[in-house]
Symmetry: C2
């Protein structure tokens, strides 16, 4: 295991898909990391506490602490880890076009699907707009289906895609895709239209790094 200057600490919530991405990346890079749970449901959300706000004014998980450094935003954290600890698996390829492809796949989830289905957004739809549960669930499935459909097409058409999103080793794109597919299943989306993505999901879930990052495997998951 590569030595970090001081132990890494990740503020995480078991079901947060942004935190799940970073847990996968940390495992893929074989880094030692202490997971600090931040409950998004207890006491109206611990992410709104003064203690957590002090390290993350956005009141969102995850946050990474590496010694004196505080790193926010899941994709920025993953790229930071890749740059700081290059001794193990690289989560971004070396060539600019390939890097752009991996980033674009990750951003297609992180910008165009996930933010619309975040806890805070669903809460706003419910409490501020009075949108009923069934319509909120239709909203969730709409954005996931639209986004995964485009990503399926991008990957299926591309000769670069191999066992994983980009070639035959997992990258940042897989670390971001798998939590989104987990969410799709959680909300009952039919995944039949995404054969390439479910094939990649199976390849990822067979790896210990992905298995250990699963929400249900976290210490703060109910019943764990």
């Amino acid at each position: 295991m590569p030595t970090t200057t001081k132990p890494l600490k990740l503020y995480s919530y078991w079901r947060s898909s942004a935190a799940y991405r970073v847990r996968i990346a940390i495992n893929l890079k074989d880094l030692a990391c202490q997971i600090v749970p931040v409950s998004l449901v207890a006491d109206g959300g611990e992410q709104h506490s003064a203690a957590y706000r002090a390290i993350n004014p956005q009141e969102l998980v995850p946050t990474l602490v590496d010694g004196e450094r505080v790193i926010r935003q899941s994709l920025a954290i993953i790229e930071y880890l890749d740059e700081m600890y290059p001794q193990t698996l690289q989560l971004l390829p070396a060539e600019p076009r390939a890097r752009a492809r991996v980033r674009a796949l990750a951003l297609a989830v992180a910008c165009d699907i996930h933010p619309l289905n975040n806890t805070r957004v669903l809460k706003y739809l419910e409490t501020e707009m009075g949108v009923p549960q069934a319509e909120r669930e239709a909203w969730i499935r709409h954005w996931i289906a639209l986004g995964l459909g485009a990503i399926e097409e991008l990957i299926a058409d591309d000769v670069v895609a191999g066992a994983f999103c980009h070639g035959d080793a997992p990258t940042m794109a897989d670390a971001v895709l798998i939590p989104q597919i987990y969410n799709a299943r959680r909300w009952g989306l039919d995944l039949g239209a995404f054969p390439t993505l479910t094939r990649i999901e199976a390849a990822c879930l067979a790896l210990d790094a992905f298995e250990r990052a699963r929400p249900e495997r976290q210490a703060d998951a109910p019943g764990s």
Copy 2:
């Protein structure tokens, strides 16, 4: 002007804030680029046309074409340009912690504000959920105010911030922030609570690279 192998081509819409980000980056890097307008309003949206779908299955702008290469997602495009054409201003700093800071600021806009106020999302709220105009505008202002508030705090508290988001030269963070402030003004948000951000905005808009990228300066803007 640095020589690119073949001329760059950017599929853009004058008022798309994701396209505006990339226009700023291209100008800051002093790259020659042909702007190809894609109207998000004409004919039900030219981004849905078969011709555009062939290069961008997400049916979103912008898309960059660099010779044979097609690059999607605004932040991936900006990082690609920075890596491919390092001869001019670097839009990301060199040190990993600094890079993470610039990326986190950009992602705080690109993931946590902008996707919620996208044309397609506002359209869904209107047509699928019947949310009235006043409530849609309250929704827009809510997410912008929440997001800019956190970014104001992150920048104001950080000794690294200088004339711009990160030090005394513009970076990717400024290229992403300025279009979001433009949107905030468009929707009538009071910017009094964001003195650091408006100071940075003034510094940016004084630069020709930002001025030429402004929506109203584009060939496809109404009345231009």
